[in-house]
Symmetry: C2
Amino acid sequence: MFIQIEPQSDVPIYQQVTQQIMEGIARGEMKPGDTLPSVRNLAADLGVNMHTVNKSYHELEEKGIITIRAKSGAIIRSTEERVLTPEQLQQIEKSLKPIVVEGMVLGATSDQIEHMMKKVFSDLQIPAEGV
Amino acid sequence: MFIQIEPQSDVPIYQQVTQQIMEGIARGEMKPGDTLPSVRNLAADLGVNMHTVNKSYHELEEKGIITIRAKSGAIIRSTEERVLTPEQLQQIEKSLKPIVVEGMVLGATSDQIEHMMKKVFSDLQIPAEGV
DNA sequence: ATTTTGTTATATTAGCTATATAACAATTTT
DNA sequence: AAAATTGTTATATAGCTAATATAACAAAAT
């Protein structure tokens, strides 16, 4: 697995798992229809508790990114299944606001923040092949 | 004061205070050189504990936005004083990443996220005068 | 039939948030 | 100079979340 946990981080472990699974999907390392490892297996791989991974999977399900089939497994939903709802767009904007505000106050220009945003985007868009 | 606390929010009160003070600065409602209210006064206004506001002020100081003069008060640093360091830019990028990733996975395009970013930026840039 | 799966339940530890009080010493105001 | 205000420090408490640990259950997969 590509997931690397930082126990010292102030970001909770279950959120680290959620984020890195999303990054894997964004990179194309995991595709719609793929099955996620069982909560017990992934937990053993990462050296964390089963419930921690379980919490992450349920967070991903709430975001509409995976589907959990009870007592069977979790699969990544297709892009067609996950339509961007206005609520989700609003949620993204709400998350974006405090970061943009802090950047502004610290003296960053709109162009600087835009540049960083695009960098993050392109870094993920292009899979690590050859490069 | 322009600060409005939402006790039910999952965002800690001291972070709400920090964010809304930054918004006030971004909007131009508070200018460099201005003195922040004493922790006791602001706490009384907001109906929260003194230590909660104190924690917020120290968070703002860590971010390089204000200067706390021991046993005197807190003042907003000038834009010239707060130079955007590479570390701060990196911090912003780090905060931006998980949001952009989630947006991507949910199917948002680079343009959509850029548009939201600029909306947040322009909403703050123009002070609430006349409008 | 056996193993694996997510689910549910209970319990414990640790850390963070927030509040409450109190006292201290330096600064500011009167 | 005296009084009030200021940030600082300390201690204590309550509530919540994160994380772990065990255990058992029932459905699904092998």
